[in-house]
Amino acid sequence: MLEIKNLRASLEEEGKEILKGLTLTVEAGKVHAIMGPNGSGKSTLSYVLAGRGGYEVTDGSATLLGEDILGMEPEERAAAGVFLAFQYPVEIPGVGNMTFLRTAVNAQRKARGEEEMDAATFLKVVREKAKELNIDAEMLKRPVNMGFSGGEKKRNEILQMAMLEPRVCILDETDSGLDVDAMKLVADGVNAMRSPDRGFLVITHYQRLLDHIVPDVVHIMVDGRIIKTGGPELALEVEKNGYADLIGEAA
């Protein structure tokens, strides 16, 4: 479903290469996890896939359902089905959460030639999903992420994901900053979305999340490359021994 081949990307300003020939395929219906030391390029990968400016792709490709996404604008990628849950969700004063979410949902529908969701239906759906994620209805009235705690912001990311129903979900450290209960809520939210035509790429530092969202495949990313791929047991190995052995093995 999401195919990344030999992807190389550099910082536009400094020319520093961050992704150094990364290859990875997420099949439909599967959950892939990426683990790797700080600074190995995990967030960069997520940004390059979602279309953030400031990076230059120098080689390789990324396709979603066979369609090249790297040439698309971020909003086009979103409409094509890419979703990124941010490591640091952004606060936007003065823009209501609901207004934003409804604009986003309908913009995507419009881009896909689908009918817009009317206000009443939208409200009903968003309330249901918010409830499942234990997000207070009052919170939804506030401006985007304003005054949300770290954990609330992460849950809000999952709510957006649930509303937008993407084809491939990229979660960048969605577990960080979550308490045990919130982690469970988020995991339930993600699991509820698992389906045969949706793929997940879950970036995390901790095995703990993967107890709840059990991955099909685990990748170890070091210095802009995938150095090892395996099953869930690979995450346990990292948890126990860190990255040193794996890096040594790969060298």
Binding site: E75, A78, V90, G94, P143
Partner: protein
């Protein structure tokens, strides 16, 4: 104190086409006094410190620069609201187009008709706050207004007004030159909302004097827009008594030249004065100047100045804002923020924020920033599928929000946001 020759000449030129009304009635003294002030101060010039960022030439020329009248918007702002409309066309009152002023449940009299009557409260006020506002900075265009105003409204609220009063300024003639002067008195505990909208004239000089007695409240929301060539110099002079409230918000879109001065005197303890503005300007022929002067002369008063400007394609925004805390004005809470969002490299924001404090137990802060759109936030919106142009509009609304939130009425706030949304949609790219 003799004026420099250039100022003398400029003043002569400006005064040449003006004459005092033939039957000024009780306004005579105020008008003559104002004329004397004009002659002593002279017209503003580019060299005056107070006009460093804004060239007043078009305000003082003998004739106004012609301004094309644009076809009326389909639905004027505030149209859905229950309010009393008082309509001026090129500065001339249009009774046929207006509502019966009595519907507001307060005293409303036209200046042009009142001069022959005996209206004590107005006689005490007309030109008085303007004259006080001439210290410590000259505001000659306001004095010119007091001397030569052709009309305006005298409004006195003794209780809670039943409806907002909406002063509507239509513009039809390309060469109109309008001078209007309103005097508003809010008696103790009374409450009034005044709305203003419309381009008014090719050149518009307007003064509004507002005296708010103890415990009174005055709300003001103004929309200046539409006609690209129009020029406006406006002044608000407000004096607040004990526990009085003054809240003013102005939205400006378009207009070749706008100078909005607001001079506020907090004269009674525990007064609250907020003045806010949002302006959106597109193009090198847009110049918008907010000049604010707040004087704290009593204890425990709160003042807020919140100004946001969105500028693109070479537009210019100016903010000059001062908080003056007089000796003894302890526990003053003064806040001032002026910010611009520059949507391109050609636009500019010129600021002069000032604090002058002569009391020791006060909390005053001011800040000014100028910046581009936050790319991270923009990406966040787009990554959810919001197209770039719409995401930029959202960021603009986000930027302006702090100023718009100064409007207390949710209904009016909604109107203003709606206007902004429409303007932004028309000015993409």
């Amino acid at each position: 104190m003799a004026l420099p020759q250039a100022k003398l000449t400029a003043t002569e030129v400006r005064l040449a086409g003006l004459s005092l009304p033939s039957a000024p009635g009780w306004t005579r003294l105020a008008r003559e006094g104002a004329l004397a002030r004009v002659q002593a101060m002279g017209m503003p010039g580019r060299r005056d410190e107070y006009w460093r960022f804004t060239d007043p030439a078009d305000f003082v020329s003998a004739e106004p620069v012609p301004a094309t009248h644009h076809a009326r918007q389909k639905i004027p702002v505030f149209d859905g609201m229950d309010r009393v409309r008082l309509v001026f066309v090129d500065g001339v009152f249009d009774a046929a187009a207006s509502d019966d002023p009595a519907l507001a449940g307060i005293e409303i009299t036209r200046l042009a008709e009142a001069q022959g009557q005996d209206i004590h409260w107005a006689a005490d006020l007309y030109g008085t706050l303007e004259a006080r506002g001439q210290e410590p900075v000259d505001r000659p265009l306001a004095a010119l207004n007091t001397a030569f105003a052709t009309d305006g409204f005298l409004i006195r609220a003794t209780g809670r007004a039943e409806k907002p009063v909406n002063l509507i300024y239509r513009h039809e003639s390309d060469s109109s030159d309008a001078i209007l002067h309103h005097v508003i008195k809010i008696e103790p505990g009374a409450d009034l909302t005044v709305l203003e909208n419309g381009p008014a004239a090719a050149r518009f000089n307007k003064v509004m004097e507002v005296e708010i007695a103890d415990g009174g409240a005055f709300h003001h929301v103004r929309v200046q827009g539409r006609d690209h060539d129009r020029r406006a110099a406006t002044h608000i002079f407000a004096r607040l008594g004990r526990e009085a409230t003054f809240k003013s918000f102005t939205m400006t879109a378009n207009g070749a030249l706008t100078r909005n001065e607001c001079v506020i005197e907090l004269a009674g303890d525990d007064g609250v004065a907020h003045v806010a503005g949002a302006c959106v300007g597109d193009g090198a022929d847009f110049h918008h100047d907010d000049t604010v002067f707040v004087t704290h002369d009593a204890e425990r008063c709160e003042s807020r100045q919140v100004f946001k400007k969105v500028l693109k394609n070479g537009a210019t925004g100016v903010f000059q804002g001062k908080i003056l805390v007089q000796p003894g004005a302890q526990k003053t809470d003064g806040y001032q923020i002026s910010q611009s969002l520059l949507l391109d490299g050609d636009s500019q924001f010129l600021v002069k924020p000032e604090l002058e404090i002569y009391a020791d137990d006060v909390a005053c802060s001011h800040g000014s920033t100028s910046g581009a759109i936050d790319e991270t936030a923009l990406f966040y919106l787009r990554s959810r599928g919001v197209p770039r142009a719409e995401a930029v509009d959202m960021m603009v609304l986000s930027f302006i929000a702090e100023a718009v939130e100064e409007i207390e009425s949710e209904e009016i706030r909604g109107e203003i946001v709606e206007r902004l949304v429409q303007w932004l949609a028309r000015h993409r790219g």
